[in-house]
Structures are given as C-alpha cells and as structure tokens.
C-alpha cells in the first residue's frame, strides 16, 4: 500500500515541474538567508567572545553556514533537474541521479532541523547562562591585569558601555574584586596600606566601580567612588539611597543572556521555516520522480501516471532499508555454483 498515492496527468506533471523550479530557486534564496544568519551569529559571538567561556556555542554558526551552503548547492541542482524532468526523454538522462538526490535532500533537511534544535537547545539548557557566568567572573578578575591580558579591560569596558550593564549580576560585584592594577597603587599611602591589611587575601578592595558602569541618562555626575561609605566625596551631596546611583542597574549576565537568547530564538524560527520549505520541496521532487518512474514503466508520455512518497507502507519500507544492510549469506543460496543451462530471462527485481 503506497503512502501518499496520487494520479498525475501530463499537464499536472508539467505544472508540478514548473512550480518545483520556482520553489527550488526560492530555496536557494532561503539557503543564502541561512548562511547569512549563521555568519551574523558568528559575528555576534565573536563580538563579546572575551566574556564567554565555552566553545560549544561555536558549533551553531558552523552548522548553520554549512547547511545553508548545502541547501544552496542542492537546490540549484534541483532547479536544473526539475526543469528537465517533465519530459520523458530528458528524464531518462537524469533518472539515476534523482533517487540519490532525493536522499541527500532529506539528509540536508534533517541537518537544517538539527541546526534549529541546537539553537533551541542551547537557549533552554542553560549552557549559555553558565558560559556567561563563568566568562564574566573570569574577565572581572583579570580586568586589572592589562599587561598580561592586553585588550581585556577595553573589551569589558565596552561590554558595559554598549550593553548598558554593570558587573555580573549587579554593580556590587565590583566591590568583591580588585580591579585596580597593583602598578597604579601607591603602596606608601597609608590609606592604601590600610585597605590591603584589612583584607585577608591582601587584595585592594574598594567601594568603587569603573567608569564604564556610569549611565549617561542619569541627571547627576557619575559617583564612581565611595558608593557604600558615607559621607560622600566632598563635592557631591548625599545621594538618596532609594534612587539609583547613576549606574547601570542590570548585571551583564542578564543583559547578554537576553541578547543572545533573542538572537538564538530568531535563528531557530528562521531555521524551522527553512526546514518546512525544504521539506515541501523534497516531497514535490519525490512526487515528480515517482510519477516519471511509473511513466517509464507505462511507456506512453501523454498518459496519467501514479506518484507516491513511499512505494510500500512505512513499516515495509523500513524493513527494506534494514535488509539492505544485511550481508548476503552465500551458504543458503541454491543458485551459486550452478552452471547456466538456459538463456532464461532473469528479470531485475524492482
């Protein structure tokens, strides 16, 4: 019992072929969109790569770009094939190519679905969040070492300025790390010595934040220092504790997490759309292929022909695929080592 069986007339086949050519060209465009989206994700990940620790995220843009390129190439071939396939004579030229083509298209469609699933999975599994958590803690700790990590301070400052965030979860995170390099600490100053001695690990902790935490929209000048202690510095009157300090209120982990989540959601939606479209194209090509195959058996190019997705039912097709892999057991075959006595027709089984 064939799956999805329809009968196609000659004009139906011609219309199907034309529609498939158009759809294949549109698929080339969607493949290019997938490549573009993959490149965009790669660029965005690279933009703040210093504050992310894990490498698993890099797989996603690679998968997207390769499936997109594969879709482009495959659909270009598909457009050429479908252009020829409505005519019986030209179909015979491409006959042997079509079946593997449908197989490869199915694989590619599965690849696109995998890419969409990767994006969704990354979002949902919390690996993104963990990567940001570890990466940001690391960067904040190494902020002061501008000799050993040149450029890290700049990148972290730019993250805070451009993404409008301060610290990992809140601005107080900066109070817990030494973010001023020892090079610029005057160890002869008694205030500095005091702070260093009051700390168990001997690090210089202060209740101040880098300038990149400052919010330009706040109406008063940014009080970077003495954020916890009272009295406030000599030229700034006491700021009410209930109002914001003129610093960015949100932590960078939340902000970056949301930023990348929305990108990944958009990408997975796009990939799902492309997958649906590709599936449609593959089903159409399969119908065209099977209708032309059955037309070959009939022989008359003008007659109606049957088309299907699977020749036998689903279970039987699966068992056929399974038996393709089985070895050929030579012990039980009665035909081996038998002399050929008559020139009988050995019909090839379909």
């Amino acid at each position: 019992m064939a799956v999805g069986r329809v009968v196609l007339s000659r004009s139906d086949r011609r219309v199907l072929a034309r529609v498939l050519v158009v759809l294949n060209w549109v698929s080339v465009v969607t493949g290019a969109v997938l490549v573009g989206v993959g490149v965009y994700l790669w660029a965005e990940l690279r933009r703040w790569e210093e504050v992310m620790s894990e490498d698993v995220l890099w797989w996603v843009p690679v998968v997207l770009v390769w499936t997109g390129l594969g879709a482009c190439v495959l659909n270009l071939t598909g457009a050429r094939l479908c252009l020829d396939c409505s005519d019986l004579n030209r179909f015979l030229r491409w006959r042997l190519v079509l079946a593997p083509y449908v197989g490869v298209s199915l694989l590619l469609t599965a690849g696109v679905l995998l890419a969409a699933a990767l994006c969704l999975g990354l979002n949902a599994s919390g690996r993104l969040d963990a990567a940001l958590e570890a990466g940001l803690s690391n960067s904040m700790r190494r902020y002061k070492d501008s000799d050993r990590n040149p450029g890290l301070k700049t990148r972290l400052d730019l993250v805070q300025i451009q993404m409008n965030c301060c610290g990992k979860d809140q601005y107080q995170d900066w109070f817990r790390v030494q973010w001023v390099s020892d090079r610029y600490l005057d160890r002869t100053d008694p205030r500095v010595q005091d702070r260093l001695r009051s700390n168990v690990a001997g690090v210089y902790l202060s209740d101040s934040v880098p300038f990149s935490c400052c919010d330009p929209a706040s109406p008063w000048p940014c009080p970077q220092t003495h954020l916890r202690s009272r009295p406030a510095p000599h030229f700034l009157s006491l700021v009410q504790s209930s109002r914001s300090l003129g610093l960015w209120g949100r932590g960078c982990r939340e902000v970056l997490g949301r930023h990348y989540s929305s990108i990944l959601n958009l990408i997975s939606l796009t990939a799902l759309g492309v997958w649906g479209f590709e599936l449609l194209v593959v089903v159409g090509v399969r119908y065209l292929q099977t209708s032309m195959e059955s037309l070959v058996l009939i022989g008359d190019p003008d007659s109606d022909s049957e088309a299907w997705i699977l020749e036998r039912g689903l279970c039987q097709s699966l068992s056929v695929i399974k038996s393709l892999g089985k070895c050929y057991h030579s012990d039980h075959d009665p035909n081996i080592d038998r002399p050929i006595t008559s020139s009988g027709t050995h019909g090839t089984d379909q």
């Binding site: 730019l158 001023v180 390099s181 300038f211 940014c222 000599h234 030229f235």
Partner: protein
C-alpha cells in the same frame, strides 16, 4: 559640418540602443542611491541636531532628495525612449519631445553641478554650526532640570562616547564651565565654598572632566578629577598620559564625520554629471542616426549620427540669438513691421 559624425548600420544602431538602455537603468540606480543618501544625511543631521543647537541647515539633504527623484524620472524617460527607438511607430510618439528633453537634460546637469558645489561649500557652515552648538552644549550640560535642556547631558555624554572625543576643542573646555549642577554640590563643605567664592561669577570650576571623556583603552582606571595635579595620582603625568581620556575635540570628530559624508556625496554627484553627459551623447547619436535614415521604410539602410548639427561655435551663436529673441521679443529690427500691440 556636423560635430563628430559616426556612420551607423542596423546592427550598430541596435547595439547602441541596447547599450544605452542599460546605461539609463544604471543611471536610475544612481538616482535611487542619491535619494537614499539624501535621506540618510537628513536623518544623521536630525540625530545630531542637539549638538548643533537645532540650528543646522537642511538645504543640502533636501536638495539631494529632490535631485535623486528628478534623476530617476529623467533617466527612466530616456530609457523608455531608447527602448522604443527601434520601432518607428513608437519612436514617432517621442520625436517631438526630444528637443525639449535635451534642453532639460542640459539644465539638469547644470543644476547637478550646483548641488555638487553646495556639498563641498556647505561644510563650512556645518563647521561653524558645530562650534557654536558644542560650546552651548557644554555650558548647558549641568541643566538637567531645565525644561528643553534636560537631555543635553545624555546626548553630549553619548556623543563623546560614540565619537571618542572630549570637549569642544579639547578636554580643557570642561575646566572653563561648571558642569556639575548646584543641586549636587555639598555647599556645607569648606572646599566647595572656597572655590565658589574665589570665582568672580560664583561658578564651581574644577580641573576635571565627565566620565564620558574616559578612554576604555587605557590600561589604568580612568582619572577624571584633578587632571592637572600630577601629585594627586600615583605615577601620573598629564603631559605623557595619552590614553587616559580622549584627546580629540568633539568639533573636529563630528566635523570629520560630516565632511567625509558630504565629500563622498559630492563625488557621487560629479560622477552622475559625467554619466548624464554620456547618456545625452548616446541618445543624441541614436536619435540623429534614426532621423537621418535616407529610406525610413527600410530599417537596414545606413545612416549618420552626430552630436551637434553644426560646429560648437555656430551652435552657441544660434543659442545666444534664440535666448536674445526670447528676452527681447518686442525689439524691432530695421525693415521689420512693428508687432501689433
């Protein structure tokens, strides 16, 4: 004696018509580009209008938008004429309009030249507007509670961060104004009172800059306050410290941004003028070769095309005479009857 005559057979005419049609469509694309650049320039001016005291002149972007539209229209018409030129029936429709079309094209090219000149000359006006606007911006930085100026601080901070600049000419401009509002000054503090009283105008001036002047590329935490006092900070010398705050002034930064935009748009307009010239020459050759066909019924016959019917001098004299006739139509020459009143 026609100027630069060229012989045409049918094949050459067809090739010329096809090539010219493509060239006209390229010109339409260029017109669309000019239109979009005009819109982009207008949007950029609006975005930075607070830095220019809302005083900036929108003449150039408006002209560019208009120019883009007219370029598209003119070249689309030319392309249509080209498309129809090889069909005598369709071409006959356009023939009477061609003379006016060519005059219009010449006038349009002259207008394009004026727009290109404006693109280069209006940069001076932008420079002066920026200088004035930034000076006022720095003065009104602290007025975050004055209606109409509450966003000046934010705009100036974001401009300094985005364009990597500090102050008008340089960072010392901040030393000359009070950029902290009195609302946030601790007036009970002795040092504050001292400074305010020692100033003639009662302003609280300091040698410090806002945080937006800080350079993230500096290896040390940003030094904003007591910039001229080397001993206030450990291992700090104002003369050798280049990375701490942005050294460029915002007027220079913004001006170089706008001037590069205007210069490249001016260069594009000059390219458009050359393109229009090529279009006109091609169309003139095509139309004259079609008109000078000895046997209109036979499309295969040879014909001659030229740029101008007479030499350049004679054409200019004729044009001057026509212009004079237009300006002074009532002038009576000897032997002529005076026109009826």
């Amino acid at each position: 004696m026609p100027l630069m005559p060229v012989k045409f057979n049918l094949q050459k005419r067809v090739k010329l018509a096809q090539g010219l049609w493509m060239l006209y469509w390229v010109s339409v694309m260029v017109g669309i580009l000019i239109f979009s650049l005009g819109i982009f320039f207008k949007v950029e001016l609006r975005k930075r209008s607070e830095m220019m005291d809302n005083n900036e002149s929108h003449l150039v972007p408006n002209l560019l938008i208009l120019t883009g539209l007219v370029t598209c229209a003119v070249n689309a018409f030319g392309g249509k004429v080209c498309h129809d030129s090889l069909d005598p029936m369709k071409f006959a429709k356009w023939k009477p309009m061609l003379k006016q079309y060519f005059t219009g094209c010449v006038a349009f090219s002259a207008a394009l030249l004026v727009v290109a000149l404006l693109c280069f000359l209006m940069q001076f006006s932008v420079y002066l507007t920026l200088a004035e606007g930034l000076k006022n911006g720095i003065r009104f930085y602290k007025d975050t509670d004055t209606p109409g100026r509450c966003f000046m601080k934010r705009t100036l901070d974001m401009t300094q961060i985005e364009f990597r600049c500090c102050g008008n000419n340089n960072f010392r401009d901040w030393f000359e104004v009070q950029w902290i509002s009195n609302r946030y000054l601790d007036m009970s503090n002795d040092q504050v009172k001292d400074r305010v009283l020692s100033n003639v105008e009662g302003k609280f001036l300091m040698d410090s800059v806002p945080f937006s002047c800080c350079n993230p590329g500096s290896p040390r935490p940003c030094i904003q306050h007591h910039l001229t006092n080397n001993s206030a900070h450990y291992d700090y010398d104002l003369r050798t410290e280049e990375l701490n705050i942005w050294t460029r002034g915002c007027r220079e930064a913004l001006f170089s941004y706008f001037s590069s935009m205007m210069s490249s748009i001016g260069a594009l307009i000059i390219f458009t003028i050359l393109l229009e010239g090529a279009d006109m020459a091609g169309l003139k050759y095509l139309t004259t070769s079609l008109e000078s066909m000895s046997d209109p019924e036979n499309p295969e016959c040879e014909s001659e095309g030229w740029l101008l019917e007479k030499s350049v001098k004679e054409t200019i004299c004729e044009a001057c005479a026509k212009a004079k006739a237009l300006i002074r139509p009532n002038q009576v020459t000897e032997g002529e009857e005076p026109p009826a009143a």
